[in-house]
């Protein structure tokens, strides 16, 4: 297993998409911070040139980030799946292959998330005004609460990528799995109590409400994320163990 992970890590760190994605997010955040900074410098009455507003804007983008998560699983479970025949022929079980790749992808994502969190904090602290004492703490708490949802997203994308061939199919299935129920439950919640409960406990709900002060206990998004992670990890593992190359 360790050898498998080592080789996947060798592949992962040599993938340009990983760095391009990081660069893109950094540029977007830097653009937002610089615009706020410029307005704050040029207009004395401008109220939004502060860290808190900047962080809430970053958090408001999380549903988009959630959709764009496919970058990570596709690095190791994308179009070059045919290569897995070499790995299977050497006696590695499908379960080991699946698990090793997933662990490396999650580790890569965590490093990516930590680095970009650091960049955002650096941008906020160096360019913008600290108007609220707890802005950074609230921002950190929100990011931690959304982490399991992001892990669920990666696990789901990964499971889909393991059994589907086309990227468009994978993304469409992902959007249907997460966003369609969210909007359907939203429409039903005024009529059914169970729909209201499900709506307020589905992962996308936590993403859309991240920039507000959370009205739910911290364990809720963790539980919701963990359930989705386990379900899609198990499903992906089961389907991948039947894959032929």
């Amino acid at each position: 297993m360790l050898n498998l992970m080592k080789s996947e890590q060798y592949r992962f760190v040599r993938t340009r998409n990983y760095y391009f994605t990081g660069l893109l997010y950094t540029l977007l955040m830097a653009g937002a911070a610089v615009i706020l900074y410029v307005f704050q410098q040029s207009e004395p009455g401008f109220r939004y040139g502060n860290e808190r507003f900047f962080y809430s804007n970053v958090l408001a983008m999380m549903p988009v980030v959630f959709v764009l998560l496919f970058t990570f699983p596709l690095i190791l479970m994308g179009e070059h799946k045919q290569m897995l025949k070499n790995t299977a022929a050497y006696g590695f079980s499908r379960q080991r292959i699946y698990t090793a790749k997933l662990l490396v992808i999650l580790a890569g994502f965590l490093i990516f998330a930590l680095a970009l969190t650091g960049v955002s904090v650096l941008l906020g602290a160096s360019l913008l005004v600290r108007s609220h004492e707890h802005a950074l703490a609230e921002y950190s708490r929100s990011l931690v609460s959304v982490l399991p949802v992001m892990i669920a997203g990666i696990t789901t994308y990964y499971g889909l990528a393991a059994v589907m061939k086309k990227n468009t199919q994978i993304i469409t299935a992902y959007v249907l799995i997460y966003f369609l129920p969210h909007y359907v439950l939203n429409a039903l919640q005024s009529r059914f109590a169970w729909a209201e409960w499900l709506y307020s406990h589905n992962p996308v709900y936590y993403l859309f409400n991240l920039y507000n002060s959370p009205a739910y206990p911290a364990w809720e998004p963790w539980t919701s994320g963990a359930v989705y992670t386990l379900v899609f990890c198990g499903l992906g593992l089961y389907l991948f163990s039947k894959e032929e190359f």
Binding site: N3, L4, S7, Y10, R11, H80, T87, Y90, G91, E244
Partner: protein, 307 residues
């Protein structure tokens, strides 16, 4: 007697309604170079894929180095080097990077294993050229390098000389012969170019429509396909005496019906005829017979077709 390293019993593989493999019985002994021969769709590649678990058989059992259970077989697969269908590598990696990825995955100690594998297939000087820019022949060589990198005891090669120029094909043949002779590597190989197999194989496995239709050792095949002169005479005993005295260099066998089969002498039929006539033997017919591997294979399939 060599011990059996791979044994397959009643193996079958079905894709939806298509029987890709049916009731395959096969055993490969250590040191064999077993050539699997069959036209497209005969089941050669599927058989190799079943052995390496790239696909799952729908029936039958497989024993590899005495192991029958899934975990044991998987462990023994570490001794297999395989190249099945077209080689698959990361297109944006160089040859060295691709092999380094697999070296780490397989836990092969020492980066020099990569250089050695590249040297073996003459790809050491490809530098920064990416796999996607390789010619078909170079891709085949890299596939072979991967198969060799882990120092396998059993090599499974599906059309390994595809896309290689004649010089490259000859090099691969020599490499395989050398691996078999020096390192005692057992080889299971398929190719469309039957003459290539004839120069390396010690065993032949003929497949058609998912079944093994015949298995022969090289000696048996040679015996069946050897160019020969077949005589029909009035007295085979008398003819044998003449042949022993006048053509001691040509081995022969007496067959039923006063027929004699000579293993050779195809260019001396006139001399044979004269000598027998002089020795008082009546020659009713004299004919050159025999066929090459391709003719034999086609004949075999023809026979199957009419069966």
């Amino acid at each position: 007697m060599m011990h059996c390293i791979l044994e397959i019993e009643a193996l079958g593989k079905t894709y939806k309604d298509v029987h890709a493999l049916q009731d395959i019985q096969l055993s490969i002994a250590a040191g064999d170079i077993a050539a699997v021969i069959g036209k497209n769709g005969a089941g050669k590649t599927t058989l190799f894929k079943c052995i390496t678990e790239q696909v799952f058989p729908t029936s039958g059992t497989l024993t590899l180095y005495g192991k029958k259970d899934a975990a044991g077989i998987r462990q023994q697969r570490r001794t297999i080097g395989a190249m099945i269908e077209e080689p698959a590598f990361f297109p944006d990696f160089t040859a060295r990077q691709n092999l380094e990825y697999f070296r780490q995955q397989r836990g092969i100690a020492g980066k020099e294993a990569v250089d050695q594998a590249l040297r073996d297939v003459k790809l050491l000087d490809t530098g920064r050229k990416k796999f996607k820019d390789f010619s078909l022949g170079m891709k085949q060589r890299l596939g072979l390098a991967l198969a060799l990198m882990s120092h396998p005891a059993l090599l499974i090669l599906d059309e390994p000389t595809n896309g290689l120029d004649p010089e490259g094909k000859a090099e691969i043949r020599e490499l395989l012969k050398n691996l078999n002779a020096v390192k005692k590597v057992t080889i299971l190989i398929s190719s469309h170019v039957l003459s290539e197999l004839q120069s390396v194989a010690t065993r032949y496995i003929f497949m058609d429509r998912g079944r093994i239709v015949e298995q022969l050792t090289a000696e048996e095949l040679l015996d069946k396909t050897r160019r020969a002169v077949e005589l029909t005479v009035d007295d085979s005993g008398k003819a044998a005496t003449v042949l022993e005295q006048q053509f001691p260099d040509i081995p022969f066998r007496i067959l039923p019906g006063n027929r004699i089969r000579l293993s050779g002498g195809t260019d001396r039929t006139e001399q044979l005829n004269r000598a027998l006539y002089s020795g008082g033997v009546g020659v009713r017919s004299i004919a050159v017979t025999g066929e090459d591997l391709e003719e034999y294979y086609l004949g075999l399939l023809g026979g199957e077709r009419h069966a």
